[in-house]
C-alpha cells in the first residue's frame, strides 16, 4: 500500500505538471503540492490504494500497446470492409473464451483489449470466462485470443495459465431482414 501510494504520488505530480505547464509560479507550485497530497489522502480514505490503482509505468506494457494498436488497425480494416461492402456479409456469433489471469487487473486488461479491437466486444465477464460477441467469422479464431491473452498477461505481469476453450458453440438462428 505504501509503495502504490508513492507511485500514485509520482504519477499525480507528473500529471499536474503536464496539465499546468507553469513551473516557476510559487502559488501554483504550493497549491499543486497540497492538491496532490489531498488526492492521495482521499484515495487512502477510499481504500483504493493498491496495485490496481497504479498500473502505470510498466515498460513491458508499452510493447503490448504497440502490438494492440497494430491489431486494432487490422481489425478496423476488416470491419470497415464488411460494413461498407454493398452485400455486408456478416456472421454475428456469441461464444465464451475461458482464460484465467491471476488478478482482476489482468482480466480487465484482456477484456478491454477484446473490446478495443473492433469486431469483438466482451459482453460479460464472470471469474475466468468472458462472453464475447463477434461480428465476423474470422474473429472467432481462438488462436488470436490466446495470443492476446498471453501478451496482456505479460504486460501487466500476471501469473497466468491460459486455457482457451469454446465453451458454447454459437447457435445459428437463420434470420434475414426483410423476409
Amino acid at each position: 500500500m505504501r509503495k502504490s501510494a508513492a507511485i500514485l504520488l509520482l504519477v499525480l505530480v507528473l500529471y499536474w505538471f503536464t496539465l499546468s505547464g507553469y513551473f516557476d509560479h510559487t502559488v501554483l507550485f504550493v497549491t499543486g503540492g497540497l492538491s496532490v497530497l489531498a488526492v492521495v489522502g482521499l484515495a487512502a480514505r477510499m481504500n483504493i490504494l493498491d496495485d490496481e490503482t497504479t498500473p502505470y509505468f510498466r515498460f513491458k506494457s508499452i510493447g503490448y500497446f504497440v502490438w494492440l494498436f497494430k491489431e486494432i488497425v487490422k481489425a478496423n480494416m476488416a470491419v470497415v470492409k464488411a460494413v461498407l461492402s454493398p452485400d455486408m456479409e456478416i456472421s454475428p456469433s456469441m461464444f465464451k473464451v475461458k482464460m484465467d489471469h491471476g488478478t482482476d487487473l489482468g482480466r480487465t486488461t484482456f477484456a478491454n483489449s477484446i473490446t478495443l479491437t473492433p469486431g469483438t466486444i466482451s459482453v460479460e465477464m464472470e471469474d475466468g470466462e468472458i462472453l464475447v460477441h463477434a461480428l465476423l467469422e474470422e474473429m472467432t479464431d481462438l488462436e488470436g485470443f490466446k495470443e492476446m491473452g498471453v501478451r496482456s498477461g505479460k504486460a501487466v505481469a500476471d501469473p497466468m495459465n491460459y486455457v482457451p476453450k469454446l465453451a458454447a458453440k454459437p447457435k445459428a438462428t437463420k434470420k434475414r431482414k426483410g423476409s
Binding site: L28, T31, L42, M46, T54
Partner: protein, 147 residues
Amino acid sequence: MNPHVILRVVAKMLIPLIALFAFYVQFHGDFGPGGGFQAGVIFASSIILYALIFGMAAAKKAMPPSWVRIGMSLGVLLYGGTGVATWLLGGNFLDYTRFAPESTHAAGQHWGIFSVELGVLCTVACAMLAIFYAFGSRVQDLSDEDW
C-alpha cells in the same frame, strides 16, 4: 464476487485523476477557463463515481456526510468572511485591494480572488454531494434485477 470487475478496476484508475483535475481547474482559473464552480462539480463527480461503483456506504465512509454538511456552509462563510475581512481592513465589502494596498501587481486582488474561489469550490462540491447523498440514500442499493 463483484460482477463489475472491469468497471471497478478502471474507476479506481480514474478517480484520483479526476479529483486532481478538479484542483487543476480550480487553481488555474486565473490563467485559463475554470474556477470554483466547475472545479466543485468535477470534484463532486469523482466522489459520485466512487459511490456508483463501490456503493453509497463506502462513499459515505470516504467523504462523511458531516464533512459535506460542514463544507457546504464553510464555503459561504469563506466567501462572506473575505468580504468582512476587507471591511475590517478599512475597505468596502469584497474590496480585495485592501489585502495588499501597496502592491503594484494587484497581489491583494489575487489573494481575494483565490480565497473567494476556494469558498465557491467548497460550497459547490459539498452541495452537489449533499443532493446526491440525499437522493441516493433514499433508495436502498439497487440490485441489477431492479432495472
